[in-house]
């Protein structure tokens, strides 16, 4: 008989793993990826694959250079790459996309200690840095293929619907408007988001709080104009942000109370930036700002243990 193994209990485990979670989120982005290819052509696919490969390569290299355990198999780098691609315009030169991946993986994630340690969402941070440094290329929106018959990338450029303010609601829903790869088609994003909620991967609290707050704010601001509200919910990166970025485990609060505060905070900030700020789009900035606040939110939303007694004089 061979030797018996002695391990601490529990001797059985739930079958959810970090890798499976990452793969589920990637799977939830597939509808958006398909929509991106339909609207922006095969170049969109190239962009997504390129970003994924770059991110995984950077992660692998980093871990080798830092002499740490290899982590590319957990799937988080691939996910970051894909999310970043979703946040880029299809016309962006590939070297600039690679720069984005470098910022996301190396600067924002690995330099802070890798998975679970970064304070900001890598894809969001990379998008913002690219946006601030390469504003021209990052805002070179093109009209999707479906909207133009004779199509070439150089010829037709268009403003995002948030700037023009003239798009049709149905177009926004199905995504035949200008914008980043992954953010135009609200339908695909909703589908993916509901899948994640159904699988128990993300909590519904954050997206509901975020989108709900935006809806309320825009309604009040416009004096009850439903069209205006829908326009703001569907245009820009709100759906992508609410379902895929504001639900990132690492950089958002851990309890549901915290998630609620986070979602509401994102909603208010996005609304303020869109309504009163210089930038037409506020999703990335709001999420980044709330990322920074997350440790504080966590502090205020610690759970109240069952059977715990408060110490006299301290309010727990």
């Amino acid at each position: 008989m061979k030797l018996l193994r002695v391990t601490p209990s529990p001797h059985i485990r739930d079958n959810m793993t970090t890798q499976k979670i990452m793969l589920c989120v990637i799977a939830a982005l597939v509808p958006s990826a398909v929509a991106a290819v339909i609207h922006f052509g095969w170049l969109a696919l190239l962009m997504m694959v390129f970003c994924v490969v770059c991110s995984v390569a950077f992660e692998g290299l980093c871990r080798i250079i830092m002499k740490r355990e290899q982590t590319i198999r957990d799937g988080s780098a691939a996910l970051t790459g894909l999310l970043l691609a979703m946040n880029l315009p299809v016309t962006l030169p590939l070297w600039e996309a690679a720069l984005g991946c470098f910022i996301a993986i190396v600067v924002v994630k690995q330099l802070f200690g890798g998975l679970g340690q970064n304070f900001a969402n890598p894809a969001i941070a990379a998008r913002i840095i690219l946006m601030l440094s390469l504003t021209g290329d990052m805002t070179n929106w093109i009209q999707p293929r479906t909207a133009v018959s004779d199509f070439s990338y150089d010829a037709v450029s268009s403003a995002t619907p948030l700037v023009s303010g003239t798009a049709n609601i149905m177009d926004l829903f199905w995504g035949s408007t200008g914008g980043c790869l992954g953010e135009t088609c609200a339908a695909a994003l909703l589908f993916g988001g509901i899948f994640l909620i159904g699988m128990g991967i993300i909590s519904p609290v954050t997206p509901f709080a975020y989108i709900g707050t935006m809806a309320v704010c825009t309604l009040i601001y416009s004096g009850g104009d439903v069209h205006f509200m829908l326009y703001h919910l569907l245009a820009g990166g709100l759906m992508l942000g609410a379902f895929f970025m504001a639900t990132d485990y690492v950089t958002t609060p851990i309890t549901w109370q915290g998630k609620l505060i986070f979602g509401v905070g994102c909603g208010i900030l996005t609304f303020l930036i869109r309504a009163f700020g210089n930038y037409p789009e506020g999703v990335s900035f709001s999420i980044l700002l709330m990322n920074i606040l997350t440790p504080y939110i966590d502090k205020f939303t610690m759970t109240k243990p069952f059977g715990g007694i408060r110490k006299a004089g301290s309010k727990a």
Partner: protein
């Protein structure tokens, strides 16, 4: 009322319809002198001495202890040292059975007139909590406060185990008599039996038997692990909260395992001390899973042989359930009073441990609403103040957090270490 969190586990209650079988007598038994919480006993027998079933072979002067009795009749071979699962070494008595199982002539049916006499009799029964921790029964039934609620723990929330389930199906009347006896002696007006809903047969049998007794109710509970944890059970059935550092008795409740009740009643009707143990034998390496009635001290190898264990596949041998049970280092280890199951499992799939991804699953799973991921970080920094703030002491090591963690972090294991660390620090500070 809010329900406490927990996890839904696969049940694997495959031995629920298998009556207890009696294991053929082994060629020797090894009876450890420490199978209970409290002081280990000192052997009172010498090699070559003959003993009979139920004869006391180990005792202690300390009040917090439980006597040990011979489970077979035969000849004492040796008094040896045995390393227990928790690493400590205790004395053990080895007996070679003569095959006759002669009961000890000195056994009498205990008579009592008062609560004190009842407890003194119980003291000699060797009875301990048979659900896990092994608190001597005469200590449990001598609470420092007035008790108004007797809670019978028949949740049996760990996968595989059906020892309590089988006891309920086979001895419902004994159990009810035992409950009434204890209610009468301790003057307790009310009793509830908490059973997880995944035991429909046992529930039916018990509720039929208890029908005519208005003081005893059967409470079905959703099968959410750890339903049978003392504080969880008390909260779900009575709505009372056992606060930090308090005992169930502080809120007027005694919780007793259903098999322990059955034993108490048998002892008071026959005088036979605790010498046998009902256990579930299961796991994917077991060819013939079964419920077994085993003399205490039987080497586990005999149990495994009987259940046709596949020794080639065997990787982990577990005493108890898969959530809280402990791995045994070898098959020579004896069956003890608190062992409710023996699981023989094959090699588990290897899992990678990643960094914590802050998914919050451990927090959602914790019945005590603790924050296991924060506790782990606090322990890594050896931050005693933070550990206290996070209420480490409330952790009951139920392992829900480790079970759900997708990053495979050893959360409950860390809490175990952290508790030991805090204890050390406090002692050092004194």
């Amino acid at each position: 009322m809010r329900r406490l969190h927990g996890v839904r586990l696969p049940h694997y209650k495959q031995t629920s319809d298998m009556p207890f079988e009696t294991l053929p007598l082994p060629e020797k038994v090894v009876i450890p002198m420490s199978m209970h919480m409290g002081k280990p006993c000192t052997p009172t027998v010498k090699p070559k001495q003959t003993v009979a079933v139920g004869e006391c072979i180990g005792t202690s002067d300390a009040p917090f202890s439980a006597d040990i009795h011979a489970s077979v009749s035969g000849t004492v071979q040796a008094v040896t040292d045995l390393r227990l699962m928790n690493g400590t070494v205790c004395k053990a008595v080895e007996i070679e059975p003569d095959g006759l199982q002669t009961p000890f002539a000195g056994l009498t049916v205990p008579a009592y007139g008062s609560r004190e006499e009842f407890l003194t009799a119980l003291r000699r029964s060797g009875g301990v909590g048979m659900g896990g921790a092994g608190l001597p029964t005469h200590i449990k039934l001598n609470p420092p406060k007035k008790i108004d609620f007797l809670l019978i723990n028949a949740a049996e929330c760990e996968p595989y185990i059906t020892a309590d389930d089988r006891t309920m199906q086979e001895k419902p009347l004994t159990i009810l008599k035992g409950i009434r006896r204890i209610m009468q002696v301790l003057d307790i007006p009310e009793c509830a039996i908490g059973v997880e809903e995944n035991k429909p047969d046992a529930m039916k049998i018990i509720s039929e038997a208890a029908e005519k007794d208005p003081a005893i109710t059967l409470v079905p509970l959703p099968p959410v692990y750890p339903q049978g944890a003392e504080k969880v059970l008390i909260y779900h059935i009575t709505g009372r909260t056992v606060e930090e550092g308090k005992l169930p008795a502080d809120c007027g409740v005694i919780v007793m395992n259903v098999s322990s009740i059955a034993f108490v009643e048998e002892y008071f009707s026959t005088g036979m001390p605790l010498v046998n143990r009902g256990l579930t034998v299961d796991g994917d390496c077991i060819g013939k899973r079964c419920s077994l009635n085993v003399p205490i001290g039987t080497p586990i190898r005999n149990v495994l042989d009987y259940a046709q264990c596949d020794y080639e596949k065997l990787d982990r041998l577990i005493s108890g359930g898969p959530m809280m049970g402990q791995c045994l280092p070898g098959t020579d280890y004896p069956v003890t009073k608190t062992m409710n199951a023996v699981l023989a499992l094959s090699e588990a799939e290897k899992r990678r441990t990643t960094a914590c991804i802050r998914c919050g699953r451990c927090i959602q799973a914790c019945p005590h609403r603790l924050m296991p991921t924060e506790l782990e970080k606090a322990y890594q920094k050896r931050d005693v103040a933070r550990l206290e703030e996070l209420k480490l002491q409330l952790c009951m090591l139920c392992r829900c957090c480790s079970y759900v963690c997708p990053a495979n972090r050893p959360l409950a294991e860390t809490n175990g270490l952290a508790k030991a660390f805090v204890r050390q620090q406090k002692e050092a500070a004194k």
